[in-house]
């Protein structure tokens, strides 16, 4: 039984880690870290867990935690994990960081987009970018995994095979993404009140959203070139779900079957990626509560562009589910253990 500690267990991503791990047959949560709720019953913060989780919230003490658990999930604000991790801790425990601290290999890019000094750049190189379908082998041997962002998971996986195969002009790539409101977190802000979000849609972080360099870096590795793109997130009046609609010029003529074959080459055996049937487009509701990524595409011969679409549950494949998938890989478990969650509809 793998002993698990969660730091930041009372945010939405932390809550989803608990929901998933509670039913995981090889893992056991022994530390529900939440500085804001120390000594309070976890189930008084998330009452869906009443009579399911009996534990109280603990402090964010990573050193103490490293003595007691096999793996630490940090579902914390940017900068937190980087400020605490050190060689001694990493020698005792594996870390899966759900923040952005170790996602970006170029520390200057991180420091520019996140407007903060990186506290432990010495671990950036070692850290594995935990997008399982792309970096599976490295994840298996990692001590420190940088769990990808929600928008980035969806954005990258939707375009990855075509970037990798050189089918699309990377300079023409535009990603228009739409997210449910749980992505904004659980802190009390006027802008996230029900009455402000409901019956409304807006773009935000236009040309400045922090997930941009993460997407660019990863699609840069895939395509073997420097990638600079437009990424525009939008806030949608729903709890969960991200839909990415991506536009790119085709570099050569390609039929539906050609493109489908490329997607199948990369994803045909992937349990959690479903390339949909022709002309069936992803909907976030079809993946809600599950670790699936639903993907499809449409070639527009009039414009010479391909429109790629991907949908995930931002809290599962976009955060907690992918983190558990990484844990499974790191501990030699079945990759889908605890993640055979059937999407809930309606």
């Amino acid at each position: 039984m793998i002993k698990v500690g969660i730091i930041g267990a009372t945010g939405y991503a932390g809550g989803e880690l608990v929901r998933i791990l509670i039913s995981h047959k090889d893992a056991e949560i022994v530390w529900y870290g939440s500085k804001s709720y120390i000594n309070q019953k976890y189930s008084s913060v998330y009452r869906n867990m009443f009579q399911i989780v009996d534990a109280e919230c603990m402090d964010d003490n990573m050193e103490a935690l490293a003595e007691q658990v096999d793996v630490i999930f940090t579902a914390t604000p940017q900068g937190f994990c980087a400020s605490l991790v050190n060689e001694e801790i990493l020698s005792k425990v594996k870390i899966i960081d759900l923040s952005a601290d170790f996602r970006i290999k170029d520390v200057s890019v991180y420091e520019k987009w996140y407007s903060m000094k990186h506290k432990s750049p010495q671990f950036i190189k070692e850290a594995v970018y935990g997008l399982c379908e792309v970096n599976r082998e490295q994840v298996v041997h990692a001590r420190l995994v940088a769990n990808p962002g929600c928008y980035t998971t969806c954005s990258i996986l939707t375009a990855y095979p075509l970037a990798k195969e050189g089918l699309i002009d990377m300079d023409s790539l535009i990603i228009d993404a739409k997210s449910g409101t749980s992505g904004a977190g659980r802190s009390a802000k006027t802008a996230n009140l029900f009455c402000e979000v409901n019956e409304n849609i807006k773009a935000y972080g236009v040309a400045t959203h922090r997930h941009t360099p993460e997407i660019e870096e990863q699609l840069g590795y895939a395509s073997g070139q420097n990638v600079v793109l437009n990424f525009t997130p939008h806030l949608i009046p729903m709890n969960r779900g991200i839909l990415a609609t991506e536009y790119a010029k085709l570099k050569r003529n390609a039929s539906y079957e050609d493109v489908k074959a490329i997607y199948d080459k990369y994803y045909g055996k992937e349990k959690f990626i479903r390339v949909l049937e022709k002309d069936v487009y992803p909907e976030t509701k079809w993946v809600e509560g599950s670790n699936y990524v639903d993907i499809n595409f449409k070639i527009d011969e009039r414009t010479g562009r391909i429109i790629m679409m991907g949908a995930i549950d931002n809290l599962v494949k976009g955060a907690a589910g992918q983190a558990v998938q990484n844990m499974n890989l790191m501990f030699g478990l079945k990759e889908s253990e605890g993640l055979e969650l059937v999407p809930m509809f309606p």
Copy 2:
């Protein structure tokens, strides 16, 4: 492995049966009945099931089905199950009927409220009302289970211990219930369009809703007297969930502790009923996707009334989950098998 057939697999309750049974380790669905979608892939109707369910929809042939399966779930309109069931079928297969056909023991009451002739009244007496926490022993030995309605499950369980112990004046009982829109089914009606339901609330079926006599009959058994009450359902702009707010006069002085002790007496050992902590009131989101019933109460000394509140997921404990709970009991399985679903929040 129990072989399962579902008639009406493409309604919302049928879809939820599939979601739950897919992960049930002792059951296997072998017949996805849906007259409207015969020969179409089930996953083309519910695309959340893509790459999970490969089967096609079948006809509603109960006789053929009885040869092939161990249990039939009928998630069909009123009158359907009663029109097809017969002794030969019941000798071969167990039936769990999610419609109202066998819920009401007094056939004249059924015929009056449902405005239809009952097609097989000879089975009404045998049929067990499948409210597991109340009729567990009878369910174990049943061939034919009448799975309770969604509003009724919530309404009855919320008041049951106090009715049973004679603490409340049954003539004073008023049930004001609120339901998500999946309770209205998946058929295309203008009144259930997004724009008609969203940003709106209304009462409907005032003083005439068909779940009324079912609640009255069961609370009549519990209290040992004839019960006539007001039940008012309301439509809420959300997908899932029922909240019942119930009002009754206390027949004698009772403290919080007295009432809590009564609830604990009946529900203290029930896995799926959670009596909440003092002054914490049920919210439908805390049970979403799960088989839980969350219950609590407040004594109002000013008026001498007690306000009881209960919340369920109408598609799980209010339909498919309870049906599987009944199946587990009927086949000698662990009662919670396949039902250890952690509520999803948010």
Copy 3:
């Protein structure tokens, strides 16, 4: 042109006052008070008002304000208006208070339910309870109007004619009310975040909500007896709207026509109260954005009860619209001036 000052112009009720008064042909807002946003453009707080309102937010200075305006609306927390009002101010300006400070005539009841000392009890007697359809004549001559609460407006008007005519047993009256989330205000609280309210319903303030004594007092005046009742509010995932479902025993046999005649007697000539056609029940969407109250009832002969239902827009008839209706009466304008708002559907 009536000069208007609003204190608390950046709450949801304050915002609605602005929306309505902007189109009022005899009134002009000259003071947008909002302590939290002093010197900021009003339209930077409510961007729907961009290029419509050019003013900046001002301090909450009631004395200065009294020199400049003809009427002050206080859309402020409880206790604020009572702490500032004095004879000198009232000699210069009319006040319409949207808080509870002057709604309850029995100061000890106010102090008990609101847990605060009343700062100017000497004005309670003078203050007119501004439920226009009930107290029209007194409003006309008032200096200080206590604008009714949202739940109370809906709850009282729904039952008023039957209470007044002695048709219902006031001891049996139960009010189960449901409100959209704008009623919770615009302050940043976790419980009001989109993800906490959406797809959820709960009761709150059970047997303790502060609108209870206000309803009891007014229905007490109507029925000529002391009224103690149950009032239970619920939070609904929608922006606007209140639906009250009310239950009471009929004191004597009454047909549909009898009851309809009573409603028509009181409301037949009221522009803003619509008694719906037989068996058509109120829906909040049908009054959204307007000053209407939609009311109907159903007699349940089985239980001897009548179920009364009323719907309003909580921000209009439940707050700002009624406040403007009061202003119109106080200044001798056409009562419906600025309030001929057609409900918006969908």
Copy 4:
């Protein structure tokens, strides 16, 4: 007083025409056409209109109507208006067609995208494309106005000044649009049920949506070149509102001030177009219920692209509001008459 007839008065756009025209001081609706509801009270179809509209629904008889009214609005399916209009009718009455029949000047383009034969191509040339801010002068003298589509109004106006001034590379233009569900109409389809739309987002009509050629034609006129672009609509779980996010390469270096000056040149005096302040992006809620278009942009120097964003209420500026704006122009009334609707928030 202008006499108005509406054909298709019971669809959502028709209902919105009624909402707006009821408060229009120079117009009077004398014919509520609705084939589906002939002889039924209009207010029994839209109960928000109870006691406001007393009329019954009439047949779709355009010839009879032409005798009785000054202007006919056709809020009907494609093909309807073109099949009935003729010279005699046009000699008696002005027509504002809310369908696509006369929007596209190239009849072969119309017939290809709409898969139907055009029944009266002889009027296409005469028909004026009723985008008031662009074609104001022609509208003034028109007998037949083709009222623009909802997506197209938003998409065109957002990019128009930059297309007109040649600032953007028209071949690079991509429009990613998001619409509330009222755009899907009021007919009963499973895909538009509350439970299917709520908590969900999807793209649809990818590379094939019929508003594409309309946008291309109009932006072609503006830019003076043939335009072929990508337009992708998405369905959002809200009642009203369209947000268009548009991406294009800048053809030359341009600062924020340069671009702002261009927008101001075209829209600075337009009452219904609000170019927002720097870094404030449009939100659909800020225009809900009103005839405003909110627009803004962001230059991304990294990619050399400009991101333009526009928001409208699809039923107002995207349909009924613009139709009334056209009527005002055609009859020499104040352009904003009846349209000074303040956006409703929340």
